[in-house]
Symmetry: D2
Subunit: 418 residues, 4 copies
């Protein structure tokens, strides 16, 4: 039961955190959907609740009364095993249920789950509740990503949080290369703690010697790429990336605007100057790859990234720091270490998102959590300022399509050993 007490505490903290993130919102903001890939805040609030209701309470709590039968469809994201889904691109059309009703839904489910947790539960139930909480932590980050995307479309320039100073004011020098020697090593999750199924099974793989940059790519680095014609020179780009950049007229990372003498960017703190020392963010895989080619380097594989992190990783900003953008590396950072690996920004790897050897997805709806997305996406590692510290791991595999830019994504370089 101690473990359940702990789980109940974790439940309370995560659920409260999600609601705390909504504090700055007007009721009108909760319904915004600025593109099919993004969801309204209200939908995130309800869907994470739906997860507990549908996968835990309706399956395992005898006599549980669902809050509203229509929610089963409305807040199902993509679980075909559970049934039909309200179209993703039309989530913004749902003025009802109201925000107040969604908060009532959350309370209804919270009471049920916390009551449920006061009894001795089978391991499978506890695993599902833990999964639901990690799921909600993922949606906390999505909520911020999606809200930023929607706010950026409004010419009145709403601010999610008060203006904040980013960057530390000390320009980092050129990155240093840290050599990592290769060999056959184990990768993927091991041990008793929580992990997603895509981090398993632990397996061995052969990695060659390589070098990895001791810091992320900064805005200043990236501006050099822009100024050198990076967006006009197809020789640096993947074919699909070049086509996308032309079609959508990319000239800089998402949210940047050219200004006299530099760039400004839309942030969760409103419009700000692009700080040279902060890590560049809101780049697609295509841009990350083109930048790497221009730098005569490459992106690390996810194995290389995991190896480097285990040997020498250091942390940057995480959600526990309550800041809403990445920060530059402190000028007194220790030399010889690989900095900013966990936190600050998700780092694009060169690894397509595929199943680990001998991976099998779970039966039932939980099997749809990760496995069916193992195609057309690239792996990102390390978490961002919008990731809770208790949520991130060195084996954690995030994934997005190579053209996506609205995530809190950044770049770290690697290179071959000659």
């Amino acid at each position: 039961m101690d473990q359940q007490l702990e789980l109940a505490g974790f439940y309370r903290r995560v659920r409260q955190k999600t609601e705390a993130l909504c504090k700055p919102l007007c009721i009108e903001d909760f319904g915004l959907q600025s593109m099919p890939d993004a969801s309204p805040s209200k939908w995130h609030l309800a869907h994470t609740t739906w997860f507990f209701e549908t996968l835990v309470l309706e399956k395992s709590l005898a006599g549980y009364q669902s809050f509203c039968s229509g929610f089963r469809v409305l807040f199902n994201s993509y679980y075909n095993t559970i049934g039909p889904q309200w179209a993703r691109s039309e989530r913004g059309l749902l003025s009802r249920p109201t925000v107040e009703e969604v908060f009532a839904y959350r309370q209804h489910v919270d009471l049920a789950i916390l009551g449920f947790l006061s009894e001795e539960l089978p391991a499978q139930c506890k695993r599902l509740i833990a999964l639901g909480l990690h799921h909600e932590q993922q949606h906390q980050e999505l909520l911020l990503m999606d809200l930023k995307h929607a706010f950026a479309r409004n010419p009145l320039r709403p601010e999610y949080a008060k203006p904040d100073q980013i960057g530390l004011g000390t320009l980092p020098g050129r990155q240093n290369w840290i050599a990592i020697s290769g060999g056959v090593f184990g990768f993927g999750h091991q041990g008793a703690g929580f992990c997603f199924d895509n981090e398993e099974p632990r397996h061995e793989a052969l990695v060659a010697d390589f070098e990895i940059a001791d810091r992320m790519v900064t805005n200043l680095d990236y501006i050099e790429f822009i100024n050198d014609g990076g967006y006009q020179r197809p020789e640096y780009w993947l074919s699909d990336g070049w086509a996308m950049a032309q079609a959508d007229n990319w000239k800089s990372p998402l949210y940047w605007q050219p200004e006299e003498g530099g760039f400004s960017q839309f942030t969760l703190h409103g419009y700000q100057a692009v700080e040279p020392d902060a890590p560049v963010s809101h780049v697609s895989y295509y841009e990350a790859d083109a930048f790497a080619s221009w730098s005569r380097a490459r992106l690390p594989s996810e194995y290389e990234w995991e190896l480097a992190t285990e040997r020498s990783g250091s942390k940057g900003a995480l959600m526990d720091d309550d800041q809403f953008q990445p920060r530059g590396l402190a000028s007194n950072s220790v030399k010889g270490k690989v900095h900013q690996l966990l936190g600050d920004l998700w780092e694009w790897t060169r690894s397509p998102y595929t199943a680990y050897p001998n991976y099998t997805s779970h039966p039932g709806p939980i099997g749809e959590y990760n496995g069916k997305f193992m195609c057309n996406q690239m792996v990102l590692r390390g978490g961002s300022f919008a990731t809770s510290e208790c949520h991130i791991r060195t084996t954690y595999r995030n994934f997005f399509p190579p053209h996506s830019r609205w995530m809190f994504s950044g770049i770290r370089l690697a290179r071959n050993v000659e």
Copy 2:
């Protein structure tokens, strides 16, 4: 000044009516945009206010301080003469200004206009204020149309108004044909009262003898068309209409759903059975024309409609009746008259929307009000249950593209005299 007092009274009534129409809404409802053609309620509230601010106060009231400079672009609908416009299809993305701010904007402008009206004003100013009020009455109807469209998309089936009994329960017999003898007659607005520029100049035209139905087409009439394969028989349809019906899989009017033994429909009172005696609504021009062909009749021209109305028109439900759908014709309606001409539903005519002979549009922004839309649209006449009585006239020309169905549109038949 008496005329200005009257205008001030009209101003108060119209502005209050708009806000009264919003009473049933939750804050979340105000931002809904369910298609590019439809606008959020909040946008209607703001745009009608923008009209007074931009065309009256900023031009003619010395020292007027605009409420928020960004609104000039955000709430400009289509006036190129005034400047750039926020994209129509993205009106739903504006969570800010909030509903509260938009009501404050209305109050700010109302105070300024009513103050302005307390001084002696030039005729042009008074004409613009009157135009602004008729403009707002148009948007009252649009607000209901757009809200209905958005609510219809929500599977939770919100109701704008409490359930209401439609139909009078007395099935009308077959329509009767009223003969109208032709000749050269005057058409278009004359006299001192308000009219839109597209109703002018008064001019003569030759109309042949014709016959017109003494009532609108009912749901029962239309169901016969459906049951006779009307939506499967291209011989009744215009080519563009048939293509549209196939592409969008039309099988009935908008908002209808087949049910065991009949149809139900989404209304501003929620889902209801389709009442046989009520006039059929939410049909496109294509459907109206196909129904007429199937009936071995045709739609009236706008001249025919105007002539019949002047000779023999009777009224149906108007906004002043505070009901939110058309009603069936009373069984004791006088024979020999042409009923339901004003009110109930806008009636499709066979007339493309073009300029009257010798029409010229006004100079400046007001010239963009009507003239530039004189292409690709068909004229509808007579107003609907969502039109104020003081807003409709026998010479009033409404217009929509032939594929549009979300207006409160209906069908009246005419036929040639052999």
Copy 3:
């Protein structure tokens, strides 16, 4: 039988003319389809033949063996009464039947029709054959329009005909206005000769006094509009036209290219300088209307055009002149007449294409010829250099959507009498 002999002669001439128009083509050219609105030359050759086979031979010639059963679908343009149709946008995918096979198809049908015409035929058959020939004359013009569109896409710049001098080298002065007094007049076809059903019935209409330009708008006139910012000034444009011009980035008529000091244009004679004195062509209704607004004039209605032509019309180039573009007006043209009314270029009128009063379409497939297109199109009058003299009439009504530009269309101005 004399009438049939004459019809047989007409048949031979029209059918030969179509094939003569194909002389300059390589086999590869016959299959080109450069947009869904345009058809391959091979398709025109086959479809015009299909018309005779399907509507005449298969219906009325006992024992007729169709050439290939698959053609019934493949070469049906839009006759739902006859059956399914091969998708319009995929006509270019049919490498088979080959060109040789299509010519064999023509010969097969020609023999049958000419044999058929050697017997005494019922009037309805003769009417259908005459209709088929006028139909084929329409397709002769379409064939040239479509081929020009396809050739214009090829950077190797194929020439349909050898370079030819256009313009007469004498710049016309400003146009003169010819006053026409109004009244109630008869419009539409009368008499025994051939006409399409949309020219009937003859009926009366009231036309006000007006003035009409004595010549078409020239390239020089139009260049003044361009140079005065015509394509950048929304105040001259219909709303739909402005949206189209922005979306498709129109800066000049179709086929024009800016060159140092002027414009060149793609013609059926290859690339040529835009001659100042030739009438401007390949303009949409939107451009014609915007030009007229900029000129403080308007387009004539189709009644006005018909009236002016009957009173005072003169001819320009027609297909019988074997030239493949319009010519400038001769400098010694008689003053006081309205020139270029028949031939040179189709003239946009301000009249939407609708049914004449008391029009009824024919029963059966022929009823689909014209009636079902009476929506979303504007009337053009007068024929072009690609219209045979025996095919054009003052009552002839051509029609195209207002955005179309690939026809041989031009502009004539009219204006109100103050």
Copy 4:
């Protein structure tokens, strides 16, 4: 020089083979483009010639006169380093150059290359000519794929080759699993022979024990999947695959049509019954993966495929056999071997197409050959009946996007060792 003599012989054979493949075509067929991904036969003939002209003759043969300067753009596929390209989706619009001119272009370049080869050439030139020939062999297969796609759209059902008996009439039993033991092995090309840059560098990788099917999946196997609701059960599908299957209404492999009691399919020999024993073809990666899931197996990785082929591979039909579809496995095939690995059909692997460790692309245009496509595609291995024997290798990596179906693709299963 012996090596050059051999190269000249290879040149002649490959170039003649391409032209021999065009023997069955009518001139009209050469221009067909049925989708943006497919190119006209004429374009393949010209582009493969352009490769030699642009990359060899214009760079290295002093005084070479290019055949037509416009071809530099028209027949450039995707080489940004060389310059602009005619839009891929508009290759079908080029009726000129004619087929005859393209054959003259081929002859012009052939004479120049063969003359060039009679002198002693630097190694780089020879390497480029060899690359050009392997490039042309790839286009031979594309030419057949693209032609099949275009012919399949024609309801007259053209046949590329005379009807041919497929299948051997002996139904194979269930596949057998061949166990392969894992370890660290070398992968990728080694030795002096030709290879593409994406097969290099040779490198080591760790592969776990696995089992692989001794034959490809047959039509009979696949029909079981269909009959078991494979296309209606999302639990077997990748998310993107399921969305695609729904959007495009997939119910069977491409080119299949349901018939009473089974399926027929369009082949290069015209319509034929689907033979149970032949390997299933024209499946996307999504279908291959869904079939594997339904089979409780998976697709092999490209390393697994390469390992199995090196240990135990056997050949199926190749282009040298002059047949235009895959054949079933002979009933007397040796047990214990892995059959059909080279030839018959390309086999989908589960490996995304990425760079091998330490891969670097060549400088200049040749660097665009493979490297820039290393995203959003999956690796296929082993060649098909349309691949020449001298063109295929065990290390050969073909690649297509996961939704593509018009290639000659098939399925082989693998599974984990428990």
